[in-house]
């Protein structure tokens, strides 16, 4: 622990080139022990390169890297670096053998890590069969196996549902509390608030993170409150799920969902991985048929005719990579029998470019343009903003709001809980059921959390964790969801820690996690929440 202030790993004036392309240009980063450092940026901003340089996987063209010996680094690559054809135990055994950890120390360490990551009992399962969140937690456990001094995690929460993501951040905080220097990259700016320091990357350069964070808050405040107009409830019901159930063999993916999307409203569909969001969307699109219950599109069961009135942007964007921008658009125009749309200037300028050569942001806007070209009455968007930078994200939401203002109904799924505020109405799913729906303020209601400001956040964190009060770290403050101030005070007092406590309104994320976990823990439904 004494090393914590003495050693700071990091990079200084680092430049990395891939051939002619400069991925990083004079970037500096300091990663002190016992703290979390976040690297934030959109896809292609150089996050991964910076982390790879720090982990010693790429050779810098200029600048210096300060890192511990290779055996003291834990590195999780974006694609999580697990062997999907090996079981959890076999993955663990391989990493343990690779770092020469053996004997009783090995077994104790493995048991502890699997317990912390909630993976106890999954030993025989193939890593490839785990959910995205569990895979990331396993990758984290593997990286922590040899107690590294420097832990480098590349986008551990990308594509991970909010519940798992909250757990991962708790694990990350625990690693920092244990003295390790932790460097985490993310595309989610709001996640950066959990870190002690933030490095914001854009096109291989460092930007002023504080300014962008402030700008983001300002932009959100500026957005006109999308107050649903009074007449909304009379609007046309475009998509209706009526007690929809879908089973796959023994698994019930969607267990009786009632949902409707009306003309002119943006409905946000939120839920952990495996909550049934994707299956529900596929039911509504007519890609799957309900095992029981009803799904109606425009008042009828989904058919070829309903598909003409539907616009869909899947998570993978559904573009043909080997066709140009213009060819993609003319194909979908022909499929829907509509005219090719007028393009924004920068898409029009790229009309002869192959989609695979297009930057991700443009690709996404192309997918939107293709889905909107035939003026669909219902727009279904699956994770439309994952991996998108802050500015581009705002632009995509503008497009969504414009479509809704034009009378289309929009159903959108997202893992970005801070985007919940963009939706007129939210539908929260867990374990195949709707656990809450309504406007954001109604769902959060009067939920509360206890904010803890202690002299030593890491000690407070450890004491609270030991007392079964898992806390989230926000910068150097702690938040304990639930608002049971007395319990928090007692736990801290028992641990001999003095801290300032205050009860604050719960965030949407805390509410979401509570609802999702409540559903997972107990099966009986909550009729007050499910009805509007």
């Amino acid at each position: 622990m004494s090393a914590r202030t003495a050693i700071a790993w990091g990079v200084q004036d680092l430049t990395v080139r891939y051939g002619a392309r400069t991925a990083l240009d004079g970037v500096s980063l300091e990663a002190p022990g016992g703290a979390v450092t976040a690297v934030v940026g959109a896809d292609g901003s150089g996050k991964t390169t910076l982390l790879r340089a720090l982990a010693g996987v790429v050779r810098p063209a200029a600048g210096s890297v300060r890192r511990p010996d290779r055996r003291r680094i834990g590195y999780v690559a974006g694609a999580s670096g697990l062997y999907t054809d090996l079981s959890v135990d076999e993955n663990v055994a391989f990493v343990a053998a690779a770092y020469g950890i053996s004997g009783p120390e090995r077994d104790a360490r493995i048991e502890l890590l699997l317990e912390q990551t909630g993976l106890t009992g999954t030993g025989g399962r193939l890593a490839g069969r785990l959910s995205g969140g569990m895979r990331q937690k396993l990758a984290f456990a593997l990286a922590m196996l040899h107690e590294p001094e420097l832990l480098v995690l590349d986008e551990p929460t990308t594509g991970v549902d909010p519940v798992s993501s909250a757990e991962l951040w708790r694990l990350i905080a625990a690693a920092a509390a244990g003295g390790a220097a932790v460097v985490v990259s993310t595309t989610y700016l709001d996640e950066a608030r959990r870190a002690a320091t933030v490095v914001l990357l854009e096109d291989g350069h460092v930007c002023d993170a504080a300014a962008v964070l402030r700008a983001g808050d300002a932009a959100r405040a500026d957005r006109p409150g999308d107050a649903p107009s009074a007449g909304d409830h009379d609007a046309v019901r475009l998509a209706v799920a009526d007690g929809a159930v879908r089973r796959f063999g023994a698994v019930t993916a969607v267990a009786g969902v009632d949902l409707e999307v009306r003309a002119g409203e943006v409905v946000g569909l939120l839920g952990a991985n495996g909550a049934g969001k994707t299956t529900l969307i596929r039911l509504l699109l007519g890609l799957l048929r309900p095992t029981s219950g009803r799904v109606l599109l425009f008042g009828r069961p989904p058919s070829r005719a309903t598909r003409e009135r539907l616009g869909y942007v899947p998570q993978g964007l559904g573009l043909w990579q080997d066709l140009t921008v213009a060819e993609n658009l003319s194909f979908s125009a022909e499929a829907f029998g509509s005219a090719a749309p007028d393009l924004e200037p920068d898409l029009a300028a790229a009309s002869g470019t192959l989609v695979r050569d297009l930057p991700l942001g443009l690709r996404r806007r192309l997918a939107f343009a293709a889905a909107l070209a035939h003026a669909p009455e219902l727009l279904v968007l699956d994770e439309p903003t994952s991996g998108v930078g802050l500015g581009a994200r705002a632009a995509l939401w503008d497009t969504i709001h414009r479509a809704a203002a034009g009378g289309a109904g929009v159903l959108v799924t997202t893992h970005h809980l801070d985007e919940a505020g963009e939706c007129d109405r939210l539908v929260l799913m867990a374990a195949g059921r709707v656990v809450a729906q309504g406007a954001l303020v109604d769902i959060v209601g009067d939920g509360a959390a206890v904010a803890v400001r202690a002299e030593r956040w890491d000690e407070a964190f450890a004491v609270l964790s030991a007392a079964g009060l898992p806390a989230a770290v926000v910068g150097r403050d702690l938040r304990v969801p639930g608002g049971d101030e007395a319990a928090v005070r007692a736990a801290l007092a028992a641990g001999g820690i003095t801290a300032a406590l205050s009860v604050v309104p719960a965030t949407f994320e805390e509410t979401f996690v509570r609802l999702a976990l409540a559903r997972q823990d107990s099966t009986p439904s909550d009729p007050e929440r499910t009805s509007q």
Binding site: R304, L310, P314
Partner: protein, 386 residues
């Protein structure tokens, strides 16, 4: 080092396709090269015609497998039998015991023709040294020049003449199976198959639109090979173009259907390629392309008969090189038609189900998982990053 080797073995154990390839391919090659691949041809199908046919037939060496004898037929009738592919060698005995016997050999059966020529040469040599078995005197007595041997259709026994028709088959397998499977899997892997499913297309439109380009390309490829073969290698085209086209079309439907079936059980292009290779290797080796089926042991021969390429090669070589008429090719054509209908129907049903149209029939289906869409999106995302 040890840790990595252990990990590799564990992974291999789970990757059943690669494992199958690692252990089944050697076995397959063992069977093929042990039993089937033999340049030492036995049992060359032979007909013997003319007076004294019975006697001669009984006296021929073991190389010749006499499939028919006819006292009444003449040289023209015997040649017609070769043209129709009923036999590879025809022995025409001289009329009324004088004049020379004629041996006709079908040059499209390269190795069999060579074996027959070798055997005849040995016969002549032994006849010259006076140890010829008695019955063979009818073949022209002791004087060797009196046996006239003529190789038909491919007198110089050139390899190109028999390989070009076979090559057409290989091209159809390649474009039909490999390219189609990769094309369909690419659509699925990149997640755009789902996009097609939500567009207002009928499943039929998607299916036909998806395979029509491959059908055209395969047809074009085949025309190029045939024309190039004729111009560059002097390969003859003696038969009916229509018969050839019919055989090619039927065969193409089999290979396209196989490609679609492969795509429906493959998640990635790598898996599809692996499976396609798995279906192609036995076709190349056991279809009679190189080694004639009749000289293989029964067990292996039946594998050959079950392969569509076997029947297409019969049609292609017969029509191009020998000018075989359509009525002599009814068996291969009917077999190809049956295979085409079976494979194509299966692939259409499979494709329909994979496309999962809301209006279409759908049973309880354990193969599509709720996570499937998320999984494929993950792979796409990973692909874009790297």
């Amino acid at each position: 080092m040890r840790a990595i080797a252990v990990k590799e073995f564990r992974e291999l154990r789970r990757d059943r396709r690669t494992l199958a390839m690692l252990f089944l391919l050697p076995f397959l090659f063992l069977v093929v090269f042990g039993y089937a691949a033999s340049f030492d041809i036995q049992d060359v199908p032979t007909v013997v015609v003319g007076s004294g046919a019975q006697t001669i037939a009984g006296a021929l060496p073991a190389t010749f497998d006499v499939v028919a004898t006819d006292d009444g037929e003449d040289r023209a009738a015997a040649q017609d039998r070769l043209r129709r592919g009923e036999a590879v060698v025809a022995v025409v005995t001289p009329a009324a015991g004088n004049g020379a016997a004629t041996v006709l050999i079908d040059g499209t059966e390269l190795f069999a023709a060579q074996a027959a020529l070798r055997s005849l040469a040995e016969l002549k040599a032994s006849a010259a040294s006076g140890v010829a078995p008695g019955g063979l005197s009818a073949l022209g007595g002791a004087s060797s020049p009196s046996v006239r041997v003529s190789v038909l259709y491919n007198p110089e026994l050139r390899t190109a003449v028999i390989m070009i028709p076979g090559l057409c088959g290989i091209i159809l397998v390649f474009v039909g199976t490999v390219a189609t499977a990769l094309g369909v899997v690419r659509e699925r892997q990149s997640g755009t198959m789902e996009q097609l499913a939500v567009m207002p297309f009928r499943p039929r439109d998607v299916f036909l639109g998806k395979i029509a380009p491959y059908l055209l390309i395969a047809a074009l490829d085949m025309v190029i090979v045939v024309v190039a073969g004729m111009l560059l290698f002097d390969v003859p085209f003696r038969g009916s173009v229509a018969t050839f086209a019919l055989g090619a079309l039927l065969f193409l439907f089999v290979t396209l259907g196989t490609g679609v079936l492969i795509s429906s059980v493959s998640q990635t292009q790598g898996q599809a390629l692996q499976l396609a290779v798995f279906t192609m290797v036995p076709q190349f080796l056991l279809s009679g392309l190189f080694f004639p089926l009749y000289s293989m042991p029964w067990g292996v021969r039946w594998i050959g008969y079950a392969l569509p390429l076997t029947w297409f090669i019969k049609v292609a070589r017969g029509v191009m090189v020998r000018g075989t008429p359509i009525d002599a090719l009814w068996l291969p054509l009917v077999i190809l038609a049956v295979m085409a209908v079976a494979v194509f129907t299966a692939s259409t049903l499979r494709f329909r189900r994979d496309l999962a149209p809301a209006g279409g029939p759908e049973g309880t289906d354990s193969t599509d998982r709720p996570e499937a869409a998320g999984g494929s999106a993950d792979t796409t995302a990973a692909g874009t990053v790297s």
